[in-house]
Amino acid sequence: MKMQQGFFERNRSVFIFALIALTMPFWFPLIGGYSGLDTKIMVFCIFVVGFDLLLGYTGYLSFGHAAFFGIAAYTTGLMLKGFSDNIIPAIIVAVIVSTLVSVVIGLLTLKRTGIYFSILTLAFAEMFHSMAMAMLQQWTGGENGLTGMPTPMLFSIKMQGDAVFYFITFVAILMFYVAKRIERSPVGLMMRAIKCNQTRLEYTGINARKYKLLTFVISAAYAALAGALMVVYEPFVGHEFLGWHQSGEIVIMSVIGGVGTLVGPMLGAAFMLYFENVLSVDLGEQWLLVLGMIFMVVVIFMPGGFMEAVSRLQARFTQK
């Protein structure tokens, strides 16, 4: 048997991530962070890791993942309000509902490639967004958002402050590990093959559509889980969760971090949220302008994002 690396070596990045994440409450305040923000970063780490499986490995740029995030968030909120304040049934139902929706959307959108796919996903997301604002206002709270939820409970533990941070961080570590496993598995190989040359793959007799749909649904499930956890952390659902601006944010995070590396997008998520909430105070009104410029610089000069910068630096130093 080749490649018999130990468990630790193979999952080194997971352990490093776990170490950094679990100790966040200690070092994060030192750089101006605060205890709500680290939880939010963990939620978005889950979101982007799943998104990267789709964008980074199969190469499909979806502008519609906010739909799955938002649908799961609204479902979680409604479950908490109407069914029970225990988060477990809420999360399970939310992820199932959102994933089912993603199967339908995936079946419809994956027929097309490239730009058509992106536009289709955008159209769907905006459709859901409009529906949440208008048609389904009774349920979603429209522009006000969904409010008035009870304090979420994990059985008998209140999901507030540090409890919710550690809970979500554990889930994030787990989901990162799962993503790593997927990456290493035959499915991961198929994903990369699809990005490489889909036609050639189909000539070898493999049904690419099956794998595309699988990846799409997996990434949607990640988005759904993130949406559900977002509500556990912050009992509020805004209609912006569904809009294409939210999807756009995820894309920015993934690109700045480094698409296709799983770790990169998480760095990108942390960076962007940090930027938006900590640095923006010092920059004042123009923080979005600065962020936009950073984004452009990354896309133009360093399309591999942070991870590319890291590997270039590594190469620099090892050459010496």
């Binding site: 048997m1 490649m3 018999q4 690396q5 130990g6 468990f7 630790f8 193979r10 776990a18 679990l22 100790t23 409450p25 200690f26 305040p29 101006g32 962070g33 605060y34 205890s35 709500g36 923000l37 939010k40 409009s130 604002m133 208008a134 206002q137 429209g142 522009e143 006000n144 958002g145 409010t147 008035g148 304090t151 402050g161 540090d162 409890a163 550690y166 554990f170 290493r184 035959p186 912050e234 009992p235 509020f236 805004g238 912006e240 969760f241 909430n277 900590v278 923006s280 105070v281 004042g284 009104e285 923080w287 979005l288």
Partner: protein, 460 residues
């Protein structure tokens, strides 16, 4: 391809299996987190800690959460100016400290501590506003959060602050829901609401335009729009008007021609624009382009009504378009009472131009909060809340005012405004003139017409 072996044989060199590592790290994490569960409940002053009370150090921090980006950025900038001015006056005296009665403000900080502040950007977006409010509460340890230019944002923040035990002094929010079905014990609104607008405006409208009118409503499809439309319909129908129709317009609309076409096809002779901000600017401009100001229906001139006016909206629409259009405002810098004048003078001295109604309400809210702390003798939220509830005061513009305890809404006078024609304007800030000051008794209403409960004094 790696095979998945059973856990037992999957021990690495040091003898730890996956399970052991997971167990150890979870125990370690729980242990590390343990201290934090205890420090929250430190006692001081005989009161348990709620939110960011007790306040440590020689300063007390206020959180100003305003739209700095997004559609209402200009209004947010004005609110921020007012807040900074309020802090300056609280720390040094001056401004409305000289006119507010009863006041225990010393002009030397609050309860012996200097007032400092931090700012946040709501991005005109409810989720972002909660995020920045959280940052101010958890990192910057603010004792109070205030601000906002939209009802959805105010309501979202009210819920958050209510959960976390932080008092929220609303900025500009006009929806009935803020102190109606979404009222919260920790939320307070000084600005007037849609119900008061309807009540005050309808009689003036029927006097100006007659009782035999049919109104068509274009309504922004969100909480404020709905409540404004309901209030306007209720009160105009009391005056004998008919309602020819109501169309909801999506918030993002910039071109209203499709809706105006429907209005023109109906038999309505009054167009009510239940729109705010960019919506109103666009719908009014569109309506004027369609020649609706000069149109005749049912033998009468077609009239346009904009229930809620703000100077920024007026400026955006242009004085040619708002000329003669009636609406309401909470306050205007041309008012001559002592409180208003002292505020306007200070604002002009500091910034070079007069304040908007958004600035006024934010300034007053800050002072009222500080005053309530002084009266309660402590920053302990339940005590401050009780000090504000049913507080009667004067000298803050708007004459004698009651901060009603049943719904945390200020009951005070308000203004019916009319747009000035371009030739009548004296400056770049002079867009609206006061037609009538509606007194407090007329603006008053029974709080029980709106559902909703304030909730307990201490957060759950």
């Amino acid at each position: 391809m790696t095979d998945v072996k059973s856990d037992k044989s999957n021990k690495s060199a040091s003898g730890w299996s996956r399970r052991d590592v997971l167990k150890a790290s979870s125990v370690g994490a729980a242990g590390a987190a343990a201290p934090m569960f205890f420090t929250k409940n430190a006692w001081a002053d005989g009161h348990e800690s709620i939110g960011n009370y007790p306040v440590k150090g020689s300063e007390v921090v206020f959180g100003f959460n305003v739209p700095q980006t997004g559609a209402y950025a200009d209004e947010g900038a004005d609110e921020l100016r007012a807040y900074k001015l309020a802090v300056k006056h609280l720390n040094n005296g001056g401004g409305m400290l000289d006119t507010l009665k009863p006041s225990m403000l010393s002009g030397n900080g609050v309860l012996g501590k200097k007032v400092a502040y931090v700012t946040g950007d709501t991005q005109t977006n409810a989720d972002a506003s909660r995020t920045s409010a959280r940052r101010m509460i958890e990192r910057d340890k603010v004792i109070m959060v205030t601000g906002g230019s939209s009802s959805g944002i105010a309501i979202a923040q009210q819920y958050l602050c209510n959960e976390l035990g932080i008092i929220f002094m609303c900025g500009l929010t006009h929806s009935n829901d803020t102190t109606g079905k979404d009222k919260q014990r920790y939320g307070f609104r000084h600005f007037f609401n849609a119900h008061m607008t309807g009540k005050a405006l309808a009689p003036v409208l029927s006097k100006e335009y007659g009782k035999d009118r049919r109104a068509f409503h274009l309504t922004a499809d969100y909480s404020w729009g709905h409540t404004q439309q309901q209030s306007m319909q209720e009160f105009t129908e009391k005056e004998g008007w008919g309602t020819a129709g109501n169309i909801m317009t999506p918030l993002k609309t910039t071109d209203f021609s499709q809706y105006l076409a429907q209005v023109m096809n109906s038999d309505a002779d009054v167009l009510v624009l239940n729109h705010y901000g960019a919506n109103m600017v666009n719908s009014l401009t569109n309506a004027v382009n369609f020649g609706m100001r000069d149109m005749q229906k049912n033998g009468k001139n077609l009239e346009i009504v904009v229930p809620l006016y703000s100077r920024l909206m007026a400026k955006g629409a242009g004085s040619a378009n708002i000329d003669g259009v009636l609406g309401t405002s909470g306050w205007n810098w041309a008012l001559q009472d002592a409180g208003s004048q002292v505020f306007v003078d200070a604002f002009v001295a500091e910034y070079g131009f007069p304040p908007s109604q958004a600035a006024h309400t934010c300034y007053v809210q800050t002072l009222l909060y500080a005053n309530a702390c002084e009266m309660a003798g402590s920053f302990y939220p339940p005590a401050v809340i009780k000090a504000l509830e049913d507080f009667e005061f004067d000298g803050a513009g708007n004459g004698s005012t009651l901060y009603r305890g049943a719904d945390h809404q200020c009951i005070k006078s308000m203004l019916v405004m009319k747009g000035k024609s371009p030739s009548a304007r004296s400056s770049d800030f002079d867009y609206l003139e006061v037609v009538q000051e509606v007194d407090r008794a007329t603006a008053n209403y029974d709080p029980s017409i709106f559902p909703g409960e304030l909730g307990p004094y201490k957060p759950a």
